[in-house]
């Protein structure tokens, strides 16, 4: 295919050609970045939590008025909950991975004299956490019963400065261990919190995600042997077979109300619901982005159809002359296809530069990584395809112009 006649024709329609190139470039740049943003959201939504997600239900209670004996009541509740048919494990947890609600976070140091903490972690506290959540221990051991301290004892110890009432050990997530002690055995290592309170690592779990603040490291979490009760804002978490969850949740709520009617159920949900709720905004945003991409591509395609139709109508006579001089239908068809391919290529080149610029802007204002190079060819192929599809109709109409047009006066 000879390119020179196409280029010289385009030069005579400079403004229109540039507008088409600009439109394709803008579309290409926006689509590249939007697809990238969708990828980021999907990646976030698919982050591993490290727990037995489909086997958990959560119940949070609020007591009416002060509860003088929350500790004993928690034990009674737990014993009763374990009796419910289908319940495999029952525990108390203050927070769950990727969920709204309470969360406790602390700065962790490797040296007690450090000015700034090395990492900010989320700490899991409660009772029977690892077996209930189904977190897999890969090294070391779980806490023994004598290692636990009560939250109020620990708080009092913190204020008096007496280290006796404080926990001495902790379990860390593997990702955190690799961040703190790369290439070393984390067991037996010590981290410091607050004004230098030491905690020795006795166990490592394969994975345990934090509830929120994911930009601080989604897997930077620890488990502390601190007992919490429902009065401290912790929830009951029950583990059961996935198909039993609805029945277990119903039975558990009825049981708890029967044990003490003087409380209100604040939260009752399966963990799947909690996770879905946490990522609801990401899902909505991904949906909006997909919608924008689709509409944008349709608008661009229609724009190409519109302009190409005009060009075809404008050049009817020229096409007729070419046909009369021996050009075949497929020559005409290919002419318009090549023309569009050329315009799309210019648009794509310009679009890539723009896409990169938009990405730099987004990196500056939002927490986004650099656009990976793989998005560029994807954007190019999409634009070429859209261009070819859009121009096909007008090009076929052009190819259908009979040679006799050349002999007719207008």
């Amino acid at each position: 295919m000879e390119l020179r006649p196409i280029l010289s024709t385009l030069r005579r329609h400079k403004v229109t050609a540039w507008l088409l190139i600009l439109e394709m470039a803008l579309t290409c740049a926006i689509v590249c970045n939007a697809v990238f943003l969708i990828g980021q959201r999907l990646q976030r939504m698919n982050l591993p939590s490290g727990i037995a997600e489909h086997e958990l239900v959560q119940i949070t209670l609020g007591h009416i008025g002060k509860n003088p004996d929350a500790k004993a009541q928690t034990e009674t509740d737990l014993a009763a909950l374990r009796q419910i048919a289908g319940v495999q494990q029952a525990g108390v947890v203050e927070e769950l991975p990727f969920s709204r609600g309470a969360s406790s976070n602390s700065g962790l140091m490797l040296d007690p004299r450090q000015q700034q903490p090395t990492v900010t972690v989320s700490q899991y506290m409660g009772q029977n956490i690892l077996p209930t959540l189904g977190v897999r221990l890969v090294a070391g051991r779980d806490f023994g019963p004598d290692e636990y301290v009560d939250l109020d004892t620990a708080t009092a110890a913190l204020q008096s400065g007496d280290t006796k009432g404080l926990p001495q050990t902790e379990i860390v997530a593997r990702a955190l261990a690799e961040r703190l002690w790369p290439g070393k055995d984390p067991l037996g290592q010590t981290t410091y919190v607050g004004k230098g309170i030491p905690l020795r690592v006795i166990g490592v779990v394969a994975s345990l995600a934090r509830p929120n603040m994911l930009n601080m490291g989604p897997q930077y979490s620890v488990v502390w042997p601190i007992h919490m009760t429902q009065a401290d804002g912790a929830s009951y978490v029950l583990r059961c077979a996935p198909q039993d969850r609805a029945a277990v949740l119903k039975a558990a709520v009825a049981k708890l109300k029967q044990l003490d009617p003087n409380r209100v159920v604040l939260v009752k949900r399966t963990y799947d619901e909690a996770r879905r709720d946490y990522f609801a905004n990401d899902r909505a945003m991904a949906g909006i982005l997909i919608g924008v991409i689709v509409v944008l591509l349709i608008v661009t395609a229609l724009g190409i159809v519109g302009l190409a139709s005009f060009w075809v109508a404008q050049r009817r006579r020229t096409i007729g002359v070419r046909r009369a001089l021996g050009a075949t239908r497929s020559d005409i068809l290919r002419y318009f296809q090549t023309e569009n391919f050329l315009l799309a290529t210019f648009g794509i080149v310009l679009g890539m530069v723009l896409a990169y610029g938009i990405n730099l802007f987004l990196m500056l204002h939002y927490e986004l990584p650099r656009l990976p190079a793989v998005y560029f060819p994807v954007g190019a192929i999409v634009l070429w395809l859209i261009g070819q599809l859009a121009v096909l109709g007008p090009a076929l109409r052009a190819a259908a112009v009979p040679p006799v047009v050349a002999t007719r006066s207008v």
Binding site: G62, K66, D152, T155, M285, V292, G306, W311
Partner: protein, 435 residues
């Protein structure tokens, strides 16, 4: 003349319906998407208390120890501790002041058909109501005497009053909150500032507090705190910190009626910090800020990132639609070069042809704007169905309605400018000759 141009424009637009529809659709889509996101942005970044917000300030001080302090870089804490809050409150250096925090209380209706439920609550000192201009449907706020007496009084929202008392005047009635009896002294009128500027630790938008009780009373009753707790040193433990714990969990707001008073108050905060440092309570030099409501919202970047991203996306989309329309109009106008040539040859000035073509693009703009408005209504309806907490607030107000039409007209006139200018450059003789 305008009527004639309008007639010409309509004729021309009718001649090629598909193309006209395409241009109108492109403008409508661009306008619809932009107005939807701009409306959300407008609603979310609005002034929560118009007319009042410029005299309301949020004092911030820095009571932490020296660990991690970078002079000039470290921002002071976002809330105050119990001790500092009480000190600042009792200093009474501002025109009005209030110390407050959020929580949840169990409401036990006397009406046995209603189960006990939890309501969002605000534990505050009496200055809250006059300072923020809370309107009252029935009754009135409590005063400093009730604060000092740890009185069991409550103000409830009109929504809670509707739910519990069917909207009737409930002042003087008893209300059982978290197991204790309270007397209702007032029912607030419709008051729901958005963003929820005075405490951003809970939801930033659409946070409806049902119950207001004196801060002193809430502490006596052990009502649970709900919101942000930030500790330093060996502070920590639970969501309701001890009053002596090195933790911040309360908000302190002041009203300062003139800039001079604000400057004096800032000096007071510096003086207070120096005093506390000398006493050994504060471990770092004075580090204070005194932001007004809008500065405080800006500092906290209260508008969600997603909303700002969506606005950029929509504006990019509008730009593509715009370029699309320019291209289509250009093709359309140039195709009519012959007709325009005849008009020019018959004596129409270049200016007249230009105006005629602009009228045509203006018509496309107005129709596109109407379509865009319709799409914005659909868009906002879709936004309201989103899971975000601000979703329910997304409504078009008159100013945004007006802005929609202005944007549509501006966009299409802008889109018509280049094509019209190109088309009126046509040399009349050349055009006539070729036919």
């Amino acid at each position: 003349m305008f009527g004639y141009y309008l007639d010409l424009a309509l004729r021309s637009l009718r001649r090629n319906k598909a193309l006209t529809a395409l241009m109108v659709l492109a403008i409508a889509l661009g306008i619809g998407a932009s107005m939807t996101t701009l409306t959300v942005l407008h609603v979310l970044s609005g002034d929560p208390l118009p007319g009042r917000s410029s005299t309301l300030y949020y004092p911030q001080i820095d009571p932490r120890d020296s660990r991690g302090y970078l002079p000039g870089k470290t921002q002071p804490m976002d809330q105050v501790s119990w001790i500092d809050g009480m000190n600042l409150l009792h200093a009474k250096q501002a025109d009005r002041q209030a110390l407050m925090t959020g929580g949840n209380v169990a409401v036990q209706p006397d009406d046995t058909t209603l189960d006990p439920f939890y309501a969002a609550a605000r534990y505050t000192t009496a200055g809250f109501f006059p300072m923020f201009g809370v309107p009252f449907q029935y009754g009135h706020a409590w005063g400093a005497t009730e604060d000092a007496a740890h009185a069991r009084v409550a103000v409830i929202s009109s929504q809670l009053n509707d739910k519990l008392f069917g909207g009737r005047d409930s002042t003087g009635k008893a209300l059982r909150l978290s197991g204790a009896m309270f007397r209702i002294v007032g029912v607030a009128g419709s008051w729901n500032p958005n963003p929820h500027f005075y405490d951003l630790n809970r939801k930033s938008y659409n946070e409806n507090e049902g119950v207001f009780v004196p801060l002193s009373t809430s502490q006596d009753m052990g009502m649970p705190h709900d919101g942000g707790v930030d500790c330093w040193g060996n502070g920590g433990g639970g969501n309701t910190p001890d009053h002596n714990a090195p933790c911040v969990w309360l908000q302190f707001w002041v009203q300062l009626d003139s800039p001079a008073k604000a400057a004096a108050y800032k000096a007071f905060l510096v003086h207070y910090s120096e005093q506390q440092q000398a006493l050994g309570r504060f471990g770092r030099p004075p580090n204070v800020r005194l932001r007004d409501v809008m500065q405080w919202l800006d500092y906290n970047q209260v508008v969600p990132d997603d909303v700002r991203l969506q606005t950029w996306l929509a504006l990019g989309f509008l730009l593509v639609c715009q370029v699309n329309t320019v291209g289509l109009m250009l093709a359309k106008f140039l195709r009519r070069a012959g007709e325009l040539g005849v008009r020019r040859a018959l004596g129409a000035s270049r200016r007249a042809v230009f105006v005629q073509l602009l009228v045509e693009s203006g018509v496309v703009g107005i129709v596109g704007g109407a379509g865009g408005l319709l799409l914005s209504f659909i868009g906002l309806w879709l936004v309201r169905r989103q899971p975000a907490s601000y979703a329910a607030l997304a409504h078009l107000d008159p100013s945004m309605l007006f802005a929609t039409f202005l944007l549509a007209l501006g966009a299409s006139l802008l889109a018509g400018l280049l094509p019209a200018w190109r088309a009126c450059q046509v040399a009349p003789a050349l055009q006539l000759k070729s036919h």
